[in-house]
Symmetry: C2
Subunit: 376 residues, 2 copies
């Protein structure tokens, strides 16, 4: 699979965004976060791990985006379809790109929309943003969710990348027996599972969570402890690995030594819930409809009630499968179905799959999960 | 090495921050970013990879911090020294924790300081921050760099973690010959080097960069291509791996097949520059003094002129070794020395080491680099 996308794909993305800008009377969009900037430019680097430098992309009402970036990124940005690249030698304490950004925005014209909604943030120092608004005589306001809505609908090329990394992780899950078993510390399993993901073809592993315990685990966001796996434990591994900038996000449960009746029946209910969510997923259905279909099988009191979410250039993005989210599903949306059940005092089990909405329903793009919990 | 820190360490951190708050007349600090929140609470999770949920910690003028967080994090936060944990079932579109945060801030009292300087950002939706300021009759302003300055001075326990992950990465660098050589695609080297880091004991690998080419590489932030390594190439790998939440950040260069005279002499100059930076590093010296000492050896026109930076809970944090940074060095500061030289048309070579400032100078905490470029 070739990496990256042709300019036509970026043009189509930007035109979709610009149609939204026109509807909302915006003269420019100001983007500061990795996923938004990559979506319109193709700028892919792990350098975002460094918080030191801000990065700006301005989307005008017409034409290609303008990059206003630290000069350390000029060479890489120059390999994308972006031609108007303005740089400064960041970090510059007295003016870290603000004058250059202000000049660019004034040239493009406002009002300036910025992602401001749930899940977004402004990745630049607050004091610098205040200064920008002072020196730039333009109106700054929300982007009305334009960028997030565009990103939510994936092209076939984007879906193929998510599919590929799901298949990669699927092969790694098939090999968990090589690294996990009674007596192995959970921290070793986490470490070695990341290796399996890399060996099977992941570019990197931004996210790995999991847990282990009798009939389930206490939560799913804690780092691994050195506690050894014990017979009767259920081990869960949940990964967000990446290929070409696109995430998978799904998990698998395993029984250590033997499977208990409670673990087996919880697992069966989770698979039933995923099936119910999948069956409810079609264009026109709402996020809350999928939530309801799954909640009817498992309830919604475990794991905070969110039973899935959008997925793509971020581990979680866009819609939430919760009662309050009435987002209407559209072909090309990729989402996870992630039911959880309480299995005992303070313990839960979680199962997660990835689906893509198609014209006539939904298609699972994670490999089929075993009907019974595999025993290691 | 045990993981985490005793409550006394967090108490000491918070008291140092509260002394700064008192000097600046702040009634509360509002923290929203991973590194700041972890610094005062010990809350360590990879779940920050998900952008969906905001997380808030309020540091009062006296006493322990208060966590205002999504309920999905309650169990993990409950394992830290934090006792006052207030939760809401995020995500809640109509009010994602803002009422709860406002109530907490009003109870604690203002003025409210927030990290606002170079390198910081506010990790919450802009629209929600506007709403918070509307419903909360308190003054919001900068934190005057209090948190960043506290974080910059590491305790012995913090330094030991950075030292450990540096040693881990050093062992992985010693094994690069197992995975790299003529004909191997750079993308495979990146993938396999992450595995080596994990095998040697890294918890995870948030950052890996590098490059390869005759006598150097074009830039150091691009992802790996599938281009095969060729005889005469210089291969550079630069990693930010993590142990217990603390980063290493250093690189090593390797020659493929044979080393050219240009590559060898550039490498020698880089080591000279690191030595000059190290010799200049002592309490009372300024960041710009180290920059000047290194720039005299290698110039400062390659790699944007930044010749090093602070390091700790983030890949890059705090001071910059640039001409404009007059930060005075204090024992306990950990920083990288990262000189770069131009080696040809659009090509550079970079070398990077980590040092800690001690009472009488500086100590290198990365393993000693080979005097000659190793030939693979």
């Amino acid at each position: 699979m070739t990496r990256g996308f042709p300019p036509a794909e970026f043009e189509a993305r930007v035109i979709r965004i610009q149609q939204g800008m026109a509807r909302n009377g915006l003269g420019a969009l100001l983007l500061t976060c990795e996923a938004d900037i990559r979506y319109v430019t193709g700028f892919l680097t792990r350098f975002w791990e460094s918080p030191t430098r801000p990065w700006f992309v301005v989307v005008p009402a017409e034409g290609a985006p303008i990059a206003v970036i630290p000069s350390i990124g000029a060479a890489l940005m120059g390999t994308t379809w972006i031609r108007d690249i303005r740089t400064w030698p960041a970090p510059v304490p007295e003016d870290d790109g603000i004058a250059l950004l202000a000049e660019t925005l004034c040239e493009v014209g406002g009002p300036v929309g910025m992602p401001s909604h749930l899940e977004s943030h402004l990745r630049m120092p607050l004091a610098h943003f205040d200064r920008l608004r002072q020196i730039c005589d333009l109106r700054f306001g929300p982007d009305h969710g334009i960028v997030a809505r565009a990103r939510a609908i994936k092209s076939a090329a984007e879906v193929s990348r998510i599919e590929r990394i799901c298949a990669t992780a699927g092969r790694a899950f098939d090999r968990v027996g090589e690294i996990a078993g009674q007596g192995v510390p959970l921290s070793h399993v986490f470490r070695d599972f990341q290796c399996l993901l890399l060996q099977e073809g992941a570019d990197w592993v931004p996210y790995l969570a999991g847990g282990a315990g009798p009939d389930g685990y206490a939560d799913v966001i804690s780092p691994a402890t050195d506690k050894a796996l014990d017979g009767g434990d259920v081990l869960m591994l949940d990964t967000g690995a990446v290929f070409d900038g696109y995430f998978c996000d799904f998990d698998r449960n395993f029984a250590i030594g033997h499977v208990t009746r409670g673990g087996q029946s919880a697992h069966a209910r989770l698979l039933d819930a995923v099936r119910a969510g999948h069956d409810a997923a079609r264009p026109g259905a709402r996020a809350c409809d999928l939530w309801r279909a799954m909640a009817q099988v498992v309830g919604s009191d475990a794991q905070d009630g969110r039973l899935g979410h959008g997925l793509g250039t971020q581990l979680t993005e866009g819609l939430s499968l919760i009662a309050a989210d009435e987002t209407v599903l559209i072909p090309g949306m990729v989402l996870t179905l992630e039911p959880a059940v309480k299995t005992g005092q303070g313990r839960i089990m979680v199962h997660e799959e990835v689906i893509v909405i198609t014209t006539d329903g939904a298609r699972q793009i994670t490999p089929e999960a075993p009907a019974q919990i595999p025993v290691l």
